[in-house]
Symmetry: C2
Subunit: 328 residues, 2 copies
Protein backbone atom coordinates (compact mmCIF):
# COMPACT_ATOMS: atom_id res chain seq x y z
CA UNK A 1 0.00 0.00 0.00
CA UNK A 2 1.42 3.35 -1.08
CA UNK A 3 0.46 6.24 1.22
CA UNK A 4 -0.89 9.28 -0.61
CA UNK A 5 -2.92 12.46 -0.31
CA UNK A 6 -5.56 13.89 -2.67
CA UNK A 7 -5.67 17.51 -3.74
CA UNK A 8 -8.85 18.80 -5.37
CA UNK A 9 -9.36 22.05 -7.21
CA UNK A 10 -13.02 22.76 -7.84
CA UNK A 11 -14.00 25.57 -10.18
CA UNK A 12 -16.89 27.09 -12.05
CA UNK A 13 -15.95 25.25 -15.25
CA UNK A 14 -13.84 22.24 -14.28
CA UNK A 15 -12.68 20.19 -11.33
CA UNK A 16 -9.25 18.60 -11.02
CA UNK A 17 -8.20 15.90 -8.59
CA UNK A 18 -4.52 14.99 -8.15
CA UNK A 19 -3.07 12.05 -6.20
CA UNK A 20 0.31 12.69 -4.66
CA UNK A 21 2.74 10.50 -2.76
CA UNK A 22 3.85 11.77 0.64
CA UNK A 23 7.00 13.03 -1.14
CA UNK A 24 4.86 15.36 -3.26
CA UNK A 25 5.09 13.35 -6.49
CA UNK A 26 1.85 13.49 -8.49
CA UNK A 27 0.99 9.94 -9.61
CA UNK A 28 -2.55 10.39 -10.89
CA UNK A 29 -4.91 13.06 -12.19
CA UNK A 30 -8.64 13.20 -12.82
CA UNK A 31 -10.84 15.88 -14.32
CA UNK A 32 -14.56 16.59 -14.42
CA UNK A 33 -17.08 19.44 -14.68
CA UNK A 34 -18.11 22.18 -12.28
CA UNK A 35 -18.43 21.43 -8.56
CA UNK A 36 -19.31 24.96 -7.48
CA UNK A 37 -22.29 24.42 -5.14
CA UNK A 38 -23.67 27.83 -6.14
CA UNK A 39 -23.85 26.79 -9.78
CA UNK A 40 -24.69 23.08 -9.65
CA UNK A 41 -27.11 20.93 -7.64
CA UNK A 42 -25.92 18.70 -4.78
CA UNK A 43 -26.29 15.60 -6.97
CA UNK A 44 -24.34 17.20 -9.82
CA UNK A 45 -21.56 18.31 -7.46
CA UNK A 46 -21.31 14.81 -5.98
CA UNK A 47 -21.24 13.14 -9.41
CA UNK A 48 -18.51 15.46 -10.71
CA UNK A 49 -16.41 15.15 -7.53
CA UNK A 50 -16.70 11.37 -7.67
CA UNK A 51 -15.75 11.34 -11.35
CA UNK A 52 -12.57 13.40 -10.76
CA UNK A 53 -11.54 11.38 -7.69
CA UNK A 54 -12.17 7.96 -9.31
CA UNK A 55 -10.32 8.98 -12.48
CA UNK A 56 -7.32 10.20 -10.44
CA UNK A 57 -6.95 6.94 -8.50
CA UNK A 58 -8.09 4.57 -11.27
CA UNK A 59 -4.60 3.25 -12.07
CA UNK A 60 -3.62 2.71 -8.43
CA UNK A 61 -5.44 -0.07 -6.64
CA UNK A 62 -2.85 -0.21 -3.83
CA UNK A 63 -3.20 3.34 -2.53
CA UNK A 64 -3.81 4.35 1.05
CA UNK A 65 -5.35 7.83 1.27
CA UNK A 66 -4.05 9.75 4.29
CA UNK A 67 -5.52 13.21 3.76
CA UNK A 68 -7.71 15.15 1.32
CA UNK A 69 -7.64 18.89 0.73
CA UNK A 70 -10.43 20.24 -1.47
CA UNK A 71 -10.06 23.87 -2.58
CA UNK A 72 -13.45 24.66 -4.02
CA UNK A 73 -15.03 27.69 -5.67
CA UNK A 74 -18.25 28.72 -3.95
CA UNK A 75 -17.22 27.55 -0.48
CA UNK A 76 -16.87 30.96 1.13
CA UNK A 77 -19.64 29.94 3.55
CA UNK A 78 -19.59 27.33 6.31
CA UNK A 79 -22.72 25.75 4.87
CA UNK A 80 -21.10 25.03 1.51
CA UNK A 81 -17.85 23.81 3.12
CA UNK A 82 -19.91 21.41 5.23
CA UNK A 83 -21.79 20.28 2.13
CA UNK A 84 -18.58 19.48 0.20
CA UNK A 85 -17.17 17.69 3.26
CA UNK A 86 -20.34 15.56 3.47
CA UNK A 87 -20.24 14.72 -0.25
CA UNK A 88 -16.58 13.64 -0.08
CA UNK A 89 -17.42 11.41 2.90
CA UNK A 90 -20.27 9.84 0.93
CA UNK A 91 -17.94 9.19 -2.01
CA UNK A 92 -15.25 7.64 0.24
CA UNK A 93 -17.93 5.41 1.74
CA UNK A 94 -18.54 3.70 -1.61
CA UNK A 95 -17.47 0.06 -1.38
CA UNK A 96 -15.06 0.56 -4.28
CA UNK A 97 -13.20 3.30 -2.41
CA UNK A 98 -13.43 2.29 1.25
CA UNK A 99 -10.48 -0.06 1.01
CA UNK A 100 -8.22 2.77 -0.23
CA UNK A 101 -8.37 4.70 3.03
CA UNK A 102 -5.50 4.67 5.50
CA UNK A 103 -6.32 2.94 8.76
CA UNK A 104 -5.79 6.30 10.45
CA UNK A 105 -8.18 8.12 8.07
CA UNK A 106 -10.85 9.83 10.13
CA UNK A 107 -13.31 11.71 7.90
CA UNK A 108 -13.90 14.40 10.49
CA UNK A 109 -10.18 15.24 10.71
CA UNK A 110 -8.59 14.16 7.45
CA UNK A 111 -10.77 16.07 4.99
CA UNK A 112 -10.11 19.78 4.70
CA UNK A 113 -12.33 21.99 2.56
CA UNK A 114 -11.38 25.58 1.75
CA UNK A 115 -12.11 28.12 -1.00
CA UNK A 116 -10.15 27.70 -4.26
CA UNK A 117 -8.55 31.07 -3.55
CA UNK A 118 -6.65 29.52 -0.62
CA UNK A 119 -5.09 26.72 -2.68
CA UNK A 120 -4.21 29.20 -5.43
CA UNK A 121 -2.50 31.47 -2.90
CA UNK A 122 -0.52 28.51 -1.54
CA UNK A 123 0.33 27.26 -5.04
CA UNK A 124 1.79 30.69 -5.83
CA UNK A 125 3.22 32.01 -2.58
CA UNK A 126 4.16 28.67 -1.03
CA UNK A 127 2.48 29.82 2.18
CA UNK A 128 -0.99 31.02 3.13
CA UNK A 129 0.35 34.41 4.16
CA UNK A 130 -0.20 36.79 1.22
CA UNK A 131 -2.76 37.95 -1.31
CA UNK A 132 -4.08 36.25 -4.41
CA UNK A 133 -5.91 38.04 -7.24
CA UNK A 134 -7.70 35.74 -9.65
CA UNK A 135 -9.21 37.05 -12.86
CA UNK A 136 -10.58 34.54 -15.32
CA UNK A 137 -14.24 34.43 -16.28
CA UNK A 138 -14.88 35.79 -12.78
CA UNK A 139 -12.62 37.71 -10.44
CA UNK A 140 -11.81 37.70 -6.73
CA UNK A 141 -9.11 38.93 -4.38
CA UNK A 142 -8.29 36.98 -1.23
CA UNK A 143 -5.63 37.54 1.40
CA UNK A 144 -4.57 35.91 4.64
CA UNK A 145 -2.36 37.10 7.48
CA UNK A 146 0.33 35.03 9.14
CA UNK A 147 -2.19 34.46 11.95
CA UNK A 148 -4.75 32.93 9.59
CA UNK A 149 -7.08 35.92 9.35
CA UNK A 150 -8.66 35.84 5.88
CA UNK A 151 -10.07 38.72 3.87
CA UNK A 152 -12.09 38.43 0.68
CA UNK A 153 -12.75 41.32 -1.68
CA UNK A 154 -15.05 40.90 -4.69
CA UNK A 155 -15.88 37.52 -6.16
CA UNK A 156 -19.59 38.29 -6.09
CA UNK A 157 -20.36 36.98 -9.56
CA UNK A 158 -20.35 38.11 -13.18
CA UNK A 159 -23.10 40.63 -12.69
CA UNK A 160 -21.15 42.58 -10.07
CA UNK A 161 -17.41 42.00 -10.43
CA UNK A 162 -15.55 44.61 -12.40
CA UNK A 163 -12.15 42.97 -12.57
CA UNK A 164 -13.09 39.89 -14.57
CA UNK A 165 -12.74 38.53 -18.09
CA UNK A 166 -16.52 38.60 -18.28
CA UNK A 167 -16.45 42.34 -17.60
CA UNK A 168 -13.78 42.85 -20.27
CA UNK A 169 -15.99 40.98 -22.75
CA UNK A 170 -19.12 42.87 -21.70
CA UNK A 171 -17.36 46.23 -22.09
CA UNK A 172 -16.05 45.14 -25.51
CA UNK A 173 -19.60 44.37 -26.68
CA UNK A 174 -20.75 47.68 -25.22
CA UNK A 175 -17.94 49.53 -27.04
CA UNK A 176 -18.98 47.93 -30.34
CA UNK A 177 -22.62 48.96 -29.89
CA UNK A 178 -21.69 52.47 -28.73
CA UNK A 179 -19.63 52.91 -31.86
CA UNK A 180 -22.43 51.47 -34.02
CA UNK A 181 -24.94 53.93 -32.48
CA UNK A 182 -22.60 56.88 -32.95
CA UNK A 183 -22.15 57.26 -29.18
CA UNK A 184 -18.42 56.55 -29.53
CA UNK A 185 -15.72 56.67 -32.17
CA UNK A 186 -14.97 53.72 -34.46
CA UNK A 187 -12.90 51.00 -32.79
CA UNK A 188 -10.85 48.03 -34.03
CA UNK A 189 -12.97 45.98 -31.61
CA UNK A 190 -15.94 46.07 -33.99
CA UNK A 191 -14.41 43.92 -36.72
CA UNK A 192 -12.54 41.72 -34.23
CA UNK A 193 -15.62 40.99 -32.12
CA UNK A 194 -17.81 40.36 -35.19
CA UNK A 195 -15.20 37.97 -36.61
CA UNK A 196 -14.98 36.13 -33.28
CA UNK A 197 -18.76 35.83 -33.05
CA UNK A 198 -19.13 34.88 -36.73
CA UNK A 199 -21.43 37.82 -37.52
CA UNK A 200 -21.47 40.29 -40.40
CA UNK A 201 -22.95 43.37 -38.70
CA UNK A 202 -23.02 44.92 -35.24
CA UNK A 203 -26.79 44.99 -34.89
CA UNK A 204 -26.82 41.18 -35.03
CA UNK A 205 -24.79 41.09 -31.80
CA UNK A 206 -28.01 41.62 -29.86
CA UNK A 207 -29.32 38.20 -30.99
CA UNK A 208 -25.95 36.63 -30.30
CA UNK A 209 -25.95 38.02 -26.77
CA UNK A 210 -29.50 36.91 -26.04
CA UNK A 211 -28.91 33.29 -27.03
CA UNK A 212 -30.06 31.30 -24.01
CA UNK A 213 -27.06 28.99 -24.27
CA UNK A 214 -24.48 31.81 -24.30
CA UNK A 215 -22.23 31.08 -21.34
CA UNK A 216 -20.40 33.68 -19.24
CA UNK A 217 -17.13 32.12 -20.40
CA UNK A 218 -18.00 32.84 -24.07
CA UNK A 219 -18.30 36.51 -23.16
CA UNK A 220 -15.06 36.32 -21.16
CA UNK A 221 -13.36 34.79 -24.21
CA UNK A 222 -13.65 38.18 -25.91
CA UNK A 223 -10.89 39.37 -23.54
CA UNK A 224 -8.44 37.91 -26.09
CA UNK A 225 -9.59 40.26 -28.85
CA UNK A 226 -9.57 43.21 -26.46
CA UNK A 227 -5.94 42.35 -25.74
CA UNK A 228 -5.12 42.15 -29.47
CA UNK A 229 -6.87 45.46 -30.21
CA UNK A 230 -5.11 47.14 -27.28
CA UNK A 231 -1.74 45.90 -28.54
CA UNK A 232 -2.58 47.49 -31.91
CA UNK A 233 -3.18 50.75 -30.05
CA UNK A 234 -6.99 50.85 -30.07
CA UNK A 235 -8.15 53.46 -27.55
CA UNK A 236 -11.45 51.79 -26.62
CA UNK A 237 -9.66 48.49 -25.95
CA UNK A 238 -6.95 50.17 -23.90
CA UNK A 239 -9.58 52.01 -21.85
CA UNK A 240 -11.32 48.72 -21.06
CA UNK A 241 -8.10 47.05 -19.92
CA UNK A 242 -7.15 50.08 -17.81
CA UNK A 243 -10.57 50.20 -16.16
CA UNK A 244 -10.51 46.49 -15.31
CA UNK A 245 -6.88 46.66 -14.09
CA UNK A 246 -7.74 49.59 -11.83
CA UNK A 247 -10.72 47.75 -10.34
CA UNK A 248 -8.48 44.77 -9.57
CA UNK A 249 -5.82 47.03 -8.13
CA UNK A 250 -8.44 48.73 -5.92
CA UNK A 251 -9.55 45.36 -4.58
CA UNK A 252 -5.93 44.35 -3.93
CA UNK A 253 -5.28 47.67 -2.19
CA UNK A 254 -8.35 47.26 0.05
CA UNK A 255 -7.30 43.70 0.94
CA UNK A 256 -3.74 44.86 1.72
CA UNK A 257 -5.10 47.62 3.94
CA UNK A 258 -7.53 45.37 5.80
CA UNK A 259 -4.73 42.84 6.37
CA UNK A 260 -2.24 45.56 7.33
CA UNK A 261 0.09 44.36 4.56
CA UNK A 262 1.09 47.93 3.76
CA UNK A 263 3.64 47.54 6.54
CA UNK A 264 4.35 43.81 6.35
CA UNK A 265 6.14 41.90 3.61
CA UNK A 266 3.79 39.72 1.66
CA UNK A 267 3.46 38.12 -1.75
CA UNK A 268 0.75 38.99 -4.25
CA UNK A 269 -0.07 36.09 -6.56
CA UNK A 270 -1.68 36.94 -9.91
CA UNK A 271 -3.68 34.08 -11.40
CA UNK A 272 -6.41 33.26 -13.91
CA UNK A 273 -6.64 33.64 -17.69
CA UNK A 274 -6.83 37.45 -17.73
CA UNK A 275 -3.80 37.96 -15.48
CA UNK A 276 -1.81 35.17 -17.15
CA UNK A 277 -2.48 36.17 -20.75
CA UNK A 278 -2.92 39.95 -20.76
CA UNK A 279 0.42 41.59 -20.11
CA UNK A 280 -1.05 45.10 -20.09
CA UNK A 281 -3.36 44.27 -17.17
CA UNK A 282 -0.66 42.41 -15.24
CA UNK A 283 1.91 45.18 -15.74
CA UNK A 284 -0.45 47.98 -14.78
CA UNK A 285 -1.42 46.22 -11.55
CA UNK A 286 2.18 45.29 -10.71
CA UNK A 287 3.43 48.82 -11.27
CA UNK A 288 0.65 50.33 -9.15
CA UNK A 289 1.45 47.86 -6.37
CA UNK A 290 5.17 48.71 -6.60
CA UNK A 291 4.38 52.42 -6.40
CA UNK A 292 1.82 52.32 -3.60
CA UNK A 293 2.24 49.11 -1.57
CA UNK A 294 5.99 48.61 -1.74
CA UNK A 295 6.01 45.92 0.97
CA UNK A 296 4.22 43.59 -1.43
CA UNK A 297 6.09 41.51 -4.00
CA UNK A 298 4.04 40.60 -7.07
CA UNK A 299 4.46 37.20 -8.73
CA UNK A 300 2.62 35.38 -11.45
CA UNK A 301 1.22 31.95 -10.62
CA UNK A 302 3.34 29.27 -12.25
CA UNK A 303 2.08 26.13 -10.49
CA UNK A 304 -1.43 24.77 -11.02
CA UNK A 305 -3.74 25.64 -8.11
CA UNK A 306 -4.28 21.92 -7.42
CA UNK A 307 -0.60 21.80 -6.35
CA UNK A 308 -1.55 24.16 -3.55
CA UNK A 309 -4.25 21.70 -2.46
CA UNK A 310 -1.66 18.92 -2.42
CA UNK A 311 0.75 21.06 -0.39
CA UNK A 312 -1.96 21.82 2.17
CA UNK A 313 -2.99 18.15 2.32
CA UNK A 314 0.63 17.07 2.91
CA UNK A 315 1.17 19.68 5.64
CA UNK A 316 -2.11 18.91 7.38
CA UNK A 317 -1.32 15.20 7.19
CA UNK A 318 2.00 15.79 8.96
CA UNK A 319 0.15 17.80 11.63
CA UNK A 320 -2.34 14.96 12.09
CA UNK A 321 0.41 12.39 12.42
CA UNK A 322 2.25 14.58 14.94
CA UNK A 323 -0.92 15.01 16.95
CA UNK A 324 -1.48 11.25 16.88
CA UNK A 325 -4.93 11.29 15.34
CA UNK A 326 -6.79 8.32 16.79
CA UNK A 327 -7.51 5.43 14.48
CA UNK A 328 -11.08 4.92 13.40
Amino acid sequence: MKSCVLGIEGGGTKTICAVSTLDGEVIGMGQSGTTNPNLASETEVKDELQKAICEAISNHRELSIEFICAGMAGTGTDANQTLINKLIRQILDLSSLRSLLSSRFNPSRNIYVCPDTVITLVAGAGVRHGIVAISGTGSIVYGETIHGQGVRVGGWGNLLDEGSGYEIGRLALQAVMKSYDGRANPTLLTQMVLDTCGLDSSDKLTYYIHRKDLSPSSIADLARVVNSAAIEGDIAARNILEKVSDELYDSISVAAKRLDFKNNDATLVLSGGVLTNIEMVRDRIASKVRANISAIKTIELCREPVKGAIQIALEKNVDCVKQGVPRK
Copy 2:
Protein backbone atom coordinates in the same frame (compact mmCIF):
# COMPACT_ATOMS: atom_id res chain seq x y z
CA MET B 1 -71.48 45.02 -37.58
CA LYS B 2 -69.42 47.72 -35.83
CA SER B 3 -66.27 48.74 -37.71
CA CYS B 4 -63.16 48.78 -35.54
CA VAL B 5 -59.38 48.69 -35.51
CA LEU B 6 -57.02 46.72 -33.24
CA GLY B 7 -53.96 48.24 -31.58
CA ILE B 8 -51.40 45.86 -30.12
CA GLU B 9 -48.51 46.72 -27.81
CA GLY B 10 -46.08 43.82 -27.44
CA GLY B 11 -43.40 44.00 -24.78
CA GLY B 12 -40.80 41.94 -22.98
CA THR B 13 -43.16 41.28 -20.08
CA LYS B 14 -46.70 41.75 -21.31
CA THR B 15 -48.78 42.26 -24.43
CA ILE B 16 -51.87 44.44 -24.65
CA CYS B 17 -54.50 44.42 -27.37
CA ALA B 18 -57.11 47.17 -27.57
CA VAL B 19 -60.19 47.31 -29.82
CA SER B 20 -61.24 50.78 -30.86
CA THR B 21 -64.19 52.10 -32.84
CA LEU B 22 -63.36 54.26 -35.84
CA ASP B 23 -64.07 57.26 -33.55
CA GLY B 24 -61.18 56.21 -31.32
CA GLU B 25 -63.30 54.85 -28.46
CA VAL B 26 -61.71 51.81 -26.84
CA ILE B 27 -64.40 49.13 -26.41
CA GLY B 28 -62.31 46.10 -25.45
CA MET B 29 -58.94 45.20 -23.98
CA GLY B 30 -56.95 41.97 -23.73
CA GLN B 31 -53.67 41.16 -22.03
CA SER B 32 -51.17 38.32 -22.20
CA GLY B 33 -47.46 37.52 -21.73
CA THR B 34 -44.38 38.44 -23.74
CA THR B 35 -44.52 38.44 -27.53
CA ASN B 36 -40.95 39.64 -28.10
CA PRO B 37 -39.66 37.24 -30.78
CA ASN B 38 -36.14 37.57 -29.37
CA LEU B 39 -37.27 36.27 -25.98
CA ALA B 40 -39.97 33.74 -26.84
CA SER B 41 -40.39 30.97 -29.42
CA GLU B 42 -42.62 31.40 -32.47
CA THR B 43 -45.28 29.16 -30.90
CA GLU B 44 -45.20 31.11 -27.64
CA VAL B 45 -45.45 34.44 -29.46
CA LYS B 46 -48.41 33.17 -31.49
CA ASP B 47 -50.19 31.81 -28.40
CA GLU B 48 -49.76 35.06 -26.45
CA LEU B 49 -50.79 37.24 -29.39
CA GLN B 50 -53.88 35.10 -29.93
CA LYS B 51 -54.75 35.27 -26.23
CA ALA B 52 -54.58 39.07 -26.13
CA ILE B 53 -56.55 39.49 -29.38
CA CYS B 54 -59.28 36.98 -28.41
CA GLU B 55 -59.65 38.52 -24.95
CA ALA B 56 -59.96 42.01 -26.43
CA ILE B 57 -62.76 41.08 -28.83
CA SER B 58 -64.45 38.43 -26.64
CA ASN B 59 -67.43 40.62 -25.71
CA HIS B 60 -68.06 41.81 -29.25
CA ARG B 61 -69.32 39.21 -31.67
CA GLU B 62 -70.52 41.83 -34.15
CA LEU B 63 -67.20 43.54 -34.90
CA SER B 64 -65.71 44.14 -38.29
CA ILE B 65 -61.93 44.59 -38.07
CA GLU B 66 -60.68 47.17 -40.59
CA PHE B 67 -57.04 47.55 -39.65
CA ILE B 68 -54.47 46.21 -37.16
CA CYS B 69 -51.36 48.03 -35.95
CA ALA B 70 -48.97 45.93 -33.84
CA GLY B 71 -46.16 47.84 -32.11
CA MET B 72 -43.90 45.08 -30.92
CA ALA B 73 -40.65 44.94 -28.96
CA GLY B 74 -37.96 43.01 -30.79
CA THR B 75 -39.15 43.92 -34.30
CA GLY B 76 -36.27 46.17 -35.24
CA THR B 77 -35.49 43.77 -38.08
CA ASP B 78 -37.49 43.02 -41.22
CA ALA B 79 -37.36 39.30 -40.40
CA ASN B 80 -39.13 39.74 -37.07
CA GLN B 81 -41.68 42.18 -38.53
CA THR B 82 -42.48 39.61 -41.22
CA LEU B 83 -42.78 36.91 -38.56
CA ILE B 84 -45.28 38.91 -36.48
CA ASN B 85 -47.24 39.76 -39.62
CA LYS B 86 -47.40 36.05 -40.51
CA LEU B 87 -48.53 35.05 -37.02
CA ILE B 88 -51.31 37.67 -36.98
CA ARG B 89 -52.50 36.38 -40.36
CA GLN B 90 -52.56 32.83 -39.00
CA ILE B 91 -54.60 33.98 -36.00
CA LEU B 92 -57.07 35.88 -38.17
CA ASP B 93 -57.46 32.78 -40.29
CA LEU B 94 -58.92 30.82 -37.35
CA SER B 95 -62.56 29.96 -38.08
CA SER B 96 -63.63 31.77 -34.88
CA LEU B 97 -62.06 35.02 -36.07
CA ARG B 98 -62.46 34.95 -39.83
CA SER B 99 -66.05 36.27 -39.69
CA LEU B 100 -64.90 39.38 -37.77
CA LEU B 101 -62.88 40.77 -40.65
CA SER B 102 -64.17 43.62 -42.75
CA SER B 103 -64.93 42.65 -46.32
CA ARG B 104 -62.19 45.08 -47.37
CA PHE B 105 -59.60 43.52 -44.97
CA ASN B 106 -56.60 42.46 -46.99
CA PRO B 107 -53.90 40.90 -44.76
CA SER B 108 -51.08 42.18 -46.93
CA ARG B 109 -52.28 45.80 -46.61
CA ASN B 110 -54.31 46.05 -43.41
CA ILE B 111 -51.78 44.70 -40.93
CA TYR B 112 -48.96 47.06 -39.93
CA VAL B 113 -46.14 45.87 -37.69
CA CYS B 114 -43.63 48.32 -36.19
CA PRO B 115 -41.34 48.47 -33.15
CA ASP B 116 -43.01 49.36 -29.81
CA THR B 117 -40.88 52.51 -29.77
CA VAL B 118 -42.90 53.88 -32.71
CA ILE B 119 -46.30 53.47 -31.02
CA THR B 120 -44.88 54.96 -27.80
CA LEU B 121 -43.58 57.97 -29.73
CA VAL B 122 -46.99 58.45 -31.36
CA ALA B 123 -48.84 57.94 -28.05
CA GLY B 124 -46.73 60.72 -26.55
CA ALA B 125 -46.03 63.17 -29.36
CA GLY B 126 -49.22 62.59 -31.33
CA VAL B 127 -47.08 62.29 -34.47
CA ARG B 128 -44.18 60.12 -35.56
CA HIS B 129 -41.86 63.10 -35.85
CA GLY B 130 -39.84 63.30 -32.61
CA ILE B 131 -37.76 61.24 -30.19
CA VAL B 132 -38.84 58.73 -27.58
CA ALA B 133 -36.63 57.57 -24.71
CA ILE B 134 -37.89 54.48 -22.92
CA SER B 135 -36.28 53.28 -19.71
CA GLY B 136 -37.96 50.45 -17.85
CA THR B 137 -36.26 47.11 -17.31
CA GLY B 138 -34.42 47.86 -20.56
CA SER B 139 -33.74 51.13 -22.30
CA ILE B 140 -33.82 52.46 -25.86
CA VAL B 141 -33.94 55.77 -27.68
CA TYR B 142 -35.73 56.06 -31.01
CA GLY B 143 -36.38 59.06 -33.22
CA GLU B 144 -38.01 59.73 -36.55
CA THR B 145 -37.87 62.71 -38.92
CA ILE B 146 -40.85 64.26 -40.62
CA HIS B 147 -39.77 62.34 -43.73
CA GLY B 148 -39.98 58.98 -41.94
CA GLN B 149 -36.24 58.46 -41.45
CA GLY B 150 -35.83 56.45 -38.22
CA VAL B 151 -32.84 56.30 -35.88
CA ARG B 152 -32.34 53.88 -33.03
CA VAL B 153 -29.74 54.34 -30.27
CA GLY B 154 -29.22 51.65 -27.64
CA GLY B 155 -31.81 49.01 -26.84
CA TRP B 156 -29.22 46.25 -27.15
CA GLY B 157 -30.29 44.33 -24.05
CA ASN B 158 -29.67 44.26 -20.30
CA LEU B 159 -26.07 43.26 -20.64
CA LEU B 160 -25.16 46.33 -22.66
CA ASP B 161 -27.61 49.17 -22.06
CA GLU B 162 -26.53 51.71 -19.48
CA GLY B 163 -29.69 53.75 -19.26
CA SER B 164 -32.04 51.09 -17.92
CA GLY B 165 -33.73 50.10 -14.66
CA TYR B 166 -31.73 46.88 -14.86
CA GLU B 167 -28.52 48.91 -14.87
CA ILE B 168 -29.73 50.97 -11.89
CA GLY B 169 -30.43 47.74 -10.00
CA ARG B 170 -27.10 46.18 -11.01
CA LEU B 171 -25.18 49.27 -9.89
CA ALA B 172 -27.12 49.25 -6.60
CA LEU B 173 -26.07 45.65 -5.92
CA GLN B 174 -22.52 46.56 -6.89
CA ALA B 175 -22.57 49.54 -4.51
CA VAL B 176 -23.73 47.30 -1.66
CA MET B 177 -20.94 44.78 -2.26
CA LYS B 178 -18.31 47.52 -2.71
CA SER B 179 -19.32 48.96 0.63
CA TYR B 180 -19.30 45.48 2.23
CA ASP B 181 -15.78 44.83 0.89
CA GLY B 182 -14.51 48.20 2.10
CA ARG B 183 -14.04 49.42 -1.49
CA ALA B 184 -16.60 52.18 -0.89
CA ASN B 185 -18.15 54.11 1.97
CA PRO B 186 -21.26 52.86 3.77
CA THR B 187 -24.49 53.57 1.87
CA LEU B 188 -28.17 53.62 2.76
CA LEU B 189 -28.62 51.23 -0.15
CA THR B 190 -27.24 48.32 1.88
CA GLN B 191 -30.14 48.09 4.33
CA MET B 192 -32.73 49.03 1.72
CA VAL B 193 -31.54 46.41 -0.79
CA LEU B 194 -31.27 43.70 1.89
CA ASP B 195 -34.80 44.49 3.13
CA THR B 196 -36.14 44.35 -0.43
CA CYS B 197 -34.43 41.00 -1.08
CA GLY B 198 -35.40 39.60 2.33
CA LEU B 199 -31.79 38.95 3.39
CA ASP B 200 -29.95 39.66 6.63
CA SER B 201 -26.41 40.21 5.33
CA SER B 202 -24.71 41.52 2.22
CA ASP B 203 -22.68 38.39 1.52
CA LYS B 204 -25.92 36.46 0.98
CA LEU B 205 -26.72 38.70 -1.99
CA THR B 206 -24.41 36.56 -4.11
CA TYR B 207 -26.75 33.56 -3.72
CA TYR B 208 -29.75 35.78 -4.35
CA ILE B 209 -28.20 37.08 -7.56
CA HIS B 210 -27.25 33.63 -8.83
CA ARG B 211 -30.74 32.17 -8.44
CA LYS B 212 -31.56 30.76 -11.85
CA ASP B 213 -35.10 32.12 -11.68
CA LEU B 214 -34.01 35.70 -10.92
CA SER B 215 -35.51 37.76 -13.71
CA PRO B 216 -34.02 40.97 -15.16
CA SER B 217 -37.15 42.78 -13.95
CA SER B 218 -36.43 41.76 -10.32
CA ILE B 219 -33.07 43.49 -10.61
CA ALA B 220 -34.72 46.49 -12.29
CA ASP B 221 -37.21 46.66 -9.39
CA LEU B 222 -34.33 47.79 -7.16
CA ALA B 223 -34.50 51.13 -9.01
CA ARG B 224 -37.26 52.06 -6.52
CA VAL B 225 -34.94 51.75 -3.53
CA VAL B 226 -32.20 53.65 -5.35
CA ASN B 227 -34.72 56.44 -5.85
CA SER B 228 -35.68 56.39 -2.14
CA ALA B 229 -32.05 56.41 -1.01
CA ALA B 230 -31.23 59.25 -3.42
CA ILE B 231 -34.14 61.29 -2.07
CA GLU B 232 -32.70 60.78 1.42
CA GLY B 233 -29.42 62.21 0.11
CA ASP B 234 -27.38 59.00 -0.24
CA ILE B 235 -24.32 59.75 -2.37
CA ALA B 236 -23.95 56.27 -3.90
CA ALA B 237 -27.61 56.27 -4.95
CA ARG B 238 -27.37 59.78 -6.40
CA ASN B 239 -24.25 58.81 -8.35
CA ILE B 240 -26.07 55.84 -9.85
CA LEU B 241 -29.04 57.95 -10.95
CA GLU B 242 -26.74 60.62 -12.40
CA LYS B 243 -24.71 58.04 -14.32
CA VAL B 244 -27.82 56.42 -15.82
CA SER B 245 -29.41 59.82 -16.61
CA ASP B 246 -26.25 60.93 -18.40
CA GLU B 247 -26.15 57.73 -20.46
CA LEU B 248 -29.77 58.29 -21.51
CA TYR B 249 -29.08 61.94 -22.27
CA ASP B 250 -26.07 60.94 -24.40
CA SER B 251 -28.24 58.56 -26.41
CA ILE B 252 -30.90 61.25 -26.87
CA SER B 253 -28.26 63.74 -27.93
CA VAL B 254 -26.80 61.32 -30.50
CA ALA B 255 -30.28 60.61 -31.88
CA ALA B 256 -31.05 64.35 -32.08
CA LYS B 257 -27.80 64.97 -33.93
CA ARG B 258 -28.29 62.09 -36.36
CA LEU B 259 -31.84 63.32 -37.08
CA ASP B 260 -30.70 66.96 -37.31
CA PHE B 261 -33.19 67.87 -34.55
CA LYS B 262 -30.76 70.38 -33.08
CA ASN B 263 -32.16 72.84 -35.61
CA ASN B 264 -35.70 71.54 -35.99
CA ASP B 265 -38.51 71.64 -33.45
CA ALA B 266 -39.35 68.20 -32.15
CA THR B 267 -40.89 66.54 -29.11
CA LEU B 268 -38.94 64.23 -26.78
CA VAL B 269 -41.24 61.69 -25.11
CA LEU B 270 -39.99 60.15 -21.84
CA SER B 271 -41.54 56.77 -21.08
CA GLY B 272 -41.07 53.58 -19.03
CA GLY B 273 -40.98 52.93 -15.29
CA VAL B 274 -37.64 54.65 -14.62
CA LEU B 275 -38.57 57.86 -16.43
CA THR B 276 -42.12 57.89 -15.07
CA ASN B 277 -41.27 57.21 -11.44
CA ILE B 278 -37.82 58.68 -10.82
CA GLU B 279 -38.09 62.46 -10.85
CA MET B 280 -34.35 62.95 -10.40
CA VAL B 281 -33.58 61.09 -13.65
CA ARG B 282 -36.38 62.79 -15.58
CA ASP B 283 -35.39 66.26 -14.36
CA ARG B 284 -31.70 65.80 -15.05
CA ILE B 285 -32.39 64.69 -18.61
CA ALA B 286 -34.95 67.44 -19.23
CA SER B 287 -32.64 70.16 -17.95
CA LYS B 288 -29.71 68.92 -20.05
CA VAL B 289 -31.95 68.84 -23.13
CA ARG B 290 -33.18 72.39 -22.37
CA ALA B 291 -29.60 73.60 -22.02
CA ASN B 292 -28.10 71.86 -25.04
CA ILE B 293 -30.84 70.98 -27.53
CA SER B 294 -33.22 73.88 -27.07
CA ALA B 295 -35.26 73.04 -30.19
CA ILE B 296 -36.56 69.95 -28.42
CA LYS B 297 -39.55 70.07 -26.06
CA THR B 298 -39.55 67.32 -23.42
CA ILE B 299 -42.82 65.71 -22.33
CA GLU B 300 -43.68 62.76 -20.16
CA LEU B 301 -45.80 60.02 -21.71
CA CYS B 302 -49.33 60.22 -20.32
CA ARG B 303 -51.19 57.89 -22.72
CA GLU B 304 -50.60 54.14 -22.78
CA PRO B 305 -48.41 53.10 -25.75
CA VAL B 306 -51.25 50.94 -27.09
CA LYS B 307 -53.14 54.20 -27.79
CA GLY B 308 -50.37 55.05 -30.22
CA ALA B 309 -51.00 51.73 -31.98
CA ILE B 310 -54.70 52.59 -32.23
CA GLN B 311 -53.91 56.04 -33.59
CA ILE B 312 -51.65 54.56 -36.27
CA ALA B 313 -54.25 51.90 -37.13
CA LEU B 314 -56.96 54.56 -37.52
CA GLU B 315 -54.76 56.79 -39.69
CA LYS B 316 -53.58 53.91 -41.87
CA ASN B 317 -57.16 52.73 -42.23
CA VAL B 318 -58.21 56.15 -43.51
CA ASP B 319 -55.30 56.05 -45.99
CA CYS B 320 -56.41 52.61 -47.19
CA VAL B 321 -59.99 53.74 -47.62
CA LYS B 322 -58.83 56.84 -49.52
CA GLN B 323 -56.66 54.73 -51.77
CA GLY B 324 -59.61 52.44 -52.36
CA VAL B 325 -57.97 49.21 -51.26
CA PRO B 326 -59.44 46.48 -53.41
CA ARG B 327 -61.78 44.00 -51.74
CA LYS B 328 -60.47 40.52 -51.20
